[in-house]
């Protein structure tokens, strides 16, 4: 295994250690979604998916 892989693993491991407490806190304290919130999220995310597919088709 080369040093680049080891370095990448250390960096990602550090990110996980740093983010874990923040993620726990966010899960505990995030407000619940209200009516229509999920729909308001899925429409733009769906458009992003279609746009990325379009970009992939354009470079093929």
């Amino acid at each position: 295994m080369d040093w680049f892989k080891i370095g990448s693993a250390i960096l990602i491991g550090a990110m996980i250690i740093f983010l874990l407490p923040r993620a726990k806190q966010m899960v505990k304290h995030s407000p619940k979604a209200k009516e229509g919130d999920w729909q308001a999220l899925l429409i733009p995310i769906g458009l992003v998916v279609l746009f990325v597919i379009f970009l992939i088709m354009s470079v093929r």
Binding site: K5, A9, I12, I45, L47, L55, V59
Partner: protein, 223 residues
């Protein structure tokens, strides 16, 4: 009517403060993106090795974790933001050089750049015009980020190309969600520090660009 005035004035003040944070965030973001592009060009010009990516990203994250929280409320924070975005821009040099060596490399880079711009402007514009509160996404986005990091950690050792593509697709979707979340936090007063807001939005754009480039590079049918 008179007793309504304090509430109205408070609300007007809050709108003014939000607009100021938004204006400062987008101004600083555009400057850091230009600086980042300049640093990427420098990194390509001096032909840095593949280790540059790791060292620059590591340095940038050390600044984000250890220095930024202490300087975000002072003018020194602006210098730290430029250092972070400069390092992240510099880290792109070896990756961009690798893509430019491909026959359609320049087209791939420009498509990823333009695509990232459209995704960012579209999602940010959507969050700004609807003024919807996307704070409910917080927990899900951070858990999603952890899942992706674990998958990326595993893929360092297993090196499965399909998993790498799945990770890139997931990162694009996840950071699209983060753009909505971060922009809505500024609009709804959850983020009042434009330095922190700039770094958050910059990381969204940076991650989408890198992973869109990876996805386009792998699926362009040109090795």
């Amino acid at each position: 009517m008179a007793f309504n005035q304090p509430a109205v004035s408070r609300s007007a003040e809050s709108v003014l403060a939000t607009n100021k944070v938004l204006r400062n965030t987008y101004s600083l973001l555009s400057m850091t993106l230009l600086f980042s592009a300049l640093m990427a060009a420098v990194s390509m010009y001096v032909e840095t090795g593949p280790g540059t990516y790791l060292l620059s990203v590591g340095g940038a994250f050390l600044l984000i974790w250890l220095v930024l929280p202490r300087t975000a409320n002072s003018s020194a924070g602006i210098g730290v933001v430029f250092a972070i975005t400069g390092l992240l821009g510099f880290s792109l040099g070896p990756i961009l050089s690798q893509y430019l060596a491909l026959p359609n490399g320049a087209q791939l880079i420009m498509t990823a750049l333009g695509g990232t711009g459209v995704i960012f402007l579209g999602l940010s514009g959507y969050a700004l015009t609807t003024k919807r509160d996307f704070s409910f996404l917080g927990g899900m986005l951070f858990v999603g980020l952890l899942v992706i990091l674990f998958a990326a950690l595993g893929n360092i050792f297993f090196a499965i190309p399909a998993l790498s593509l799945a990770i890139s697709a997931a990162v694009i979707l996840l950071f699209s969600g983060f753009i909505l979340y971060d922009t809505s936090r500024i609009i709804n007063g959850g983020e009042t520090n434009y330095i922190m807001a700039t770094v958050a939005l910059y990381l969204d754009i940076f991650n989408i660009f890198i992973h869109l480039l990876n996805l386009l590079g792998a699926l362009s049918g040109d090795d």
